[in-house]
C-alpha cells in the first residue's frame, strides 16, 4: 500500500555538519498494518515520518502510495490522505482558535479554500458526537480556545482531527511522549480504539518499549537509518522488553547505558 524504495537523505550535505540519515532505505507497509517504530535517538524515526508526510524532500528514491508515485507531491497535497499527530501538543492545533474551529478545519481537510461557513449547526452536532466518544468532556467546551486545554486534551483533539476524515495512513510521532503517564495511557487507548474501529493503516514512533510491543501488529527497530528488526504476528507477540533491549545492544555493538535508562 505504501512503498518506500531506496530512499536516501543527507542533511547539510557538503558541510562539516553533514548527516547521512538514510542511504537506501526501503520499506513496504501493508493495508491495515499498525506499525510501531523504535530506535535510539538519531536513528531516523522522525525523519522517516517527515519524508512520508512530505515535510522533508528526499535526495533519492521513490515513495508510492496505492501504486501512485507521490515522491514529489508537496506536503499540503499529501495531507489529503495522511493524518499526523506530533510529539509536541502545541503543534497539532491552532491555539488561539476554538475547539470547534479547529475541528472544522480538520472536517474539511484538503478543501479548506472555500467561502462556505466554517461552522454550522450540523457540523457542531457532528463534532459533539465525536468528542463525546472520547469522554474527556471536550464536547462541552466547543467554543473555548484550544490554548486553554491541557496537553492531553490537545493531543486527543489532534488525534481526532487527524482521523476525522479517514486518512489512508496515520503517522504518530511519539504522540504521547510529552504527556504524563496517566494521560499517555488515555491517549494510547484512544489511539488503539480509533485505529481499530476505522481500520486505519498506522505508523507510530515511540520511545516506550512496552507500548511498542503491546500495540500494533508489526514492530520495526531502526538504527543509523536502517531497519534492523522487522517482526510481526506471533513473533512480535512473543517479544519481551528484555529481548528487545538485548537486540538494541547487539545492533549498537556496545552498551549504551543512556539508551537503556531511557528505554527501560
Amino acid at each position: 500500500m505504501l512503498v518506500l524504495e531506496n530512499i536516501s537523505k543527507t542533511f547539510n550535505a557538503g558541510t562539516p555538519n553533514e548527516n547521512r540519515v538514510f542511504d537506501g532505505l526501503s520499506l513496504e507497509v501493508n493495508e491495515g498494518d499498525f506499525i510501531t517504530v523504535i530506535g535510539s535517538n538519531g536513528a531516523g524515526k522522525s525523519t522517516l515520518l517527515n519524508i512520508i508526510a512530505g515535510v522533508i524532500p528526499v535526495d533519492g528514491g521513490k515513495i508510492y502510495l496505492d501504486g501512485k508515485n507521490i515522491t514529489n507531491l508537496p506536503e499540503y497535497k499529501r495531507a489529503a490522505f495522511i493524518g499526523r499527530v506530533f510529539q509536541d501538543p502545541m503543534l497539532g492545533t491552532s491555539p488561539s482558535m476554538t475547539v470547534e474551529e479547529n475541528l472544522s478545519l480538520a472536517y474539511s481537510r484538503a478543501c479548506n479554500i472555500s467561502l462556505r461557513w466554517g461552522l454550522t449547526a450540523k457540523k457542531r452536532q457532528i463534532f459533539k458526537r465525536y468528542l463525546s466518544n472520547i469522554s474527556l468532556g471536550l464536547e462541552e467546551r466547543l467554543a473555548e480556545k484550544v490554548k486553554s486545554l491541557s496537553g492531553g486534551q490537545r493531543q486527543a483533539l489532534t488525534l481526532i482531527m487527524a482521523t476525522m476524515k479517514k486518512p489512508r495512513i496515520l503517522l504518530l510521532d511519539e504522540h504521547t511522549g510529552a504527556l504524563d503517564p496517566k494521560t499517555a495511557i488515555i491517549v494510547n487507548d484512544l489511539t488503539e480504539r480509533i485505529v481499530k474501529e476505522e481500520k486505519i493503516t498506522t505508523i507510530m514512533v515511540t520511545h516506550n518499549l512496552e507500548d511498542a510491543i503491546r500495540m500494533g501488529n508489526r514492530l520495526l527497530m531502526m538504527h543509523h537509518g536502517k531497519i534492523v528488526l522487522d517482526i510481526r504476528g506471533k513473533e512480535k507477540a512473543a517479544m519481551t522488553i528484555e529481548r528487545l533491549l538485548k537486540k538494541f545492544e547487539e545492533v549498537q555493538g556496545e552498551k549504551f547505558a543512556e539508551d537503556r535508562m531511557m528505554l527501560a
Partner: protein
C-alpha cells in the same frame, strides 16, 4: 472648536480605521509584518485621483484603487512565498517601488481634487435631494460610520468562512494547517491581497475627503495602523474577532483624537506628527507590560 475637533477625529479615525483593519489582517491574523502599507495607501489615493481627474466616475476610480491595492499585496506575497524573500524585505521592496509607480500614475507629486466630483459630492447631492433635512456637516461622519461598519462586518463574516479559518490558522500554526491540506503560500497571498486592498481603499477615500492625493501621504501609515491595532488590543483585548476588529476602529479614532489633542494645545507642530505617532506606539506597547509588572509586584505570581 472642541466639538469640531471631536467630529474631525472621529471622521478621520473611521476612514483611517479601514486602513488599520488592513494592517490588522496581516499583523494579527496572518502574523506577517507587512510594510507594503506605506506604498499601497498612497497607491489607492494616486489611482483614484488620477482616474477622477481624467473624467472617470469617482466610484469606478475607488473600485480601481481597491484592485490596485490587491495587486500590490499580491506582489509582496509572491516575493515572500515564491522568491523566498523575508517578510519584512518583501514589503519594503514593494513599498519602495510603489513610490516610483505612484509618481508614474499621478504624473506629478500632487493632484488637487477640490473642484472634481468625488464620492462625497455625489453623496451630498443625493442627500440634498432625498433627505433635505439632513444636516450636511455630518455627512462625512455618517458615511464613514456606515462604510467602516460595513467593511468590519464583512471582514468578520469572511473570517468565519472555511477560507477565513484557514487564514487564521496560517498565522497561528502554519505547520498544523499545512497538515490539514492547506497551501499556506496561497492563504498568505490571499490575506495580503485583502489587506492591501482595504488599505488602498482607505487611501482613495482619504484623498477624496481631504481634497488631494500626494505622493508623500503614505509615510508613517504603517505606524498609524500599528498604533490603532495596539490601542484596540489594549482596549478590548482578543476575546473574539468581532471585538478585536471593533477595537481596531476604536483604536484608530482614539489615536486620531490624541494626535489632534496634542496639536491643538500647541504642544507640538504639524511636522512633529510622525515623531508623536512613534511615541504613541511605544506608550501603547509598553503599557500592558507595565501593568503586568505592577500586578506581578503587588500579587506574587502563582508559581512563586
Amino acid at each position: 472648536m472642541w466639538q469640531n475637533m471631536l467630529l474631525k477625529s472621529v471622521e478621520q479615525g473611521l476612514v483611517f480605521g479601514i486602513m488599520a483593519l488592513g494592517v490588522y489582517i496581516t499583523l494579527k491574523i496572518l502574523n506577517f509584518a507587512d510594510l507594503t502599507v506605506d506604498g499601497s495607501f498612497p497607491l489607492g489615493a494616486a489611482v483614484a485621483a488620477s482616474l477622477i481627474i481624467s473624467g472617470h466616475s469617482p466610484f469606478t476610480a475607488t473600485a480601481a484603487a481597491i484592485l490596485a491595492g490587491a495587486l500590490a499585496g499580491l506582489i509582496t506575497g509572491i516575493l515572500n512565498t515564491g522568491a523566498k524573500i523575508s517578510e519584512l524585505l518583501s514589503g519594503i521592496l514593494t513599498m519602495t517601488s510603489l513610490y516610483s509607480i505612484n509618481l508614474r500614475i499621478m504624473g506629478r507629486p500632487n493632484i488637487p481634487l477640490l473642484n472634481e466630483p468625488t464620492i462625497f459630492t455625489s453623496l451630498q447631492e443625493f442627500v440634498k435631494v432625498q433627505f433635505p433635512v439632513f444636516p450636511l456637516e455630518y455627512i462625512y461622519l455618517v458615511t464613514f460610520l456606515l462604510f467602516a461598519g460595513a467593511i468590519e462586518l464583512m471582514l468578520v463574516l469572511f473570517l468565519k468562512t472555511q477560507l477565513g479559518l484557514s487564514l487564521r490558522a496560517t498565522g497561528d500554526n502554519p505547520q498544523m494547517i499545512r497538515s490539514q491540506g492547506v497551501n499556506t503560500n496561497v492563504t498568505k497571498i490571499i490575506g495580503l491581497c485583502i489587506s492591501n486592498a482595504l488599505i488602498a481603499l482607505s487611501g482613495a477615500i482619504v484623498a477624496q475627503y481631504q481634497g488631494f492625493a500626494d505622493v508623500g501621504m503614505g509615510i508613517g501609515t504603517i505606524i498609524a495602523g500599528l498604533a490603532s491595532v495596539i490601542i484596540g488590543d489594549a482596549l478590548l483585548g482578543e476575546r473574539s474577532i468581532l471585538t478585536s476588529t471593533l477595537g481596531v476602529i476604536l483604536g484608530s479614532i482614539l489615536y486620531r483624537f490624541s494626535i489632534s489633542l496634542v496639536l491643538s494645545f500647541r504642544l507640538a507642530q504639524a511636522s512633529d506628527l510622525k515623531l508623536l505617532t512613534a511615541v504613541v506606539v511605544v506608550i501603547a506597547l509598553t503599557i500592558p507590560r507595565f501593568k503586568n509588572f505592577m500586578r506581578g509586584s503587588i500579587i506574587p505570581s502563582e508559581r512563586g
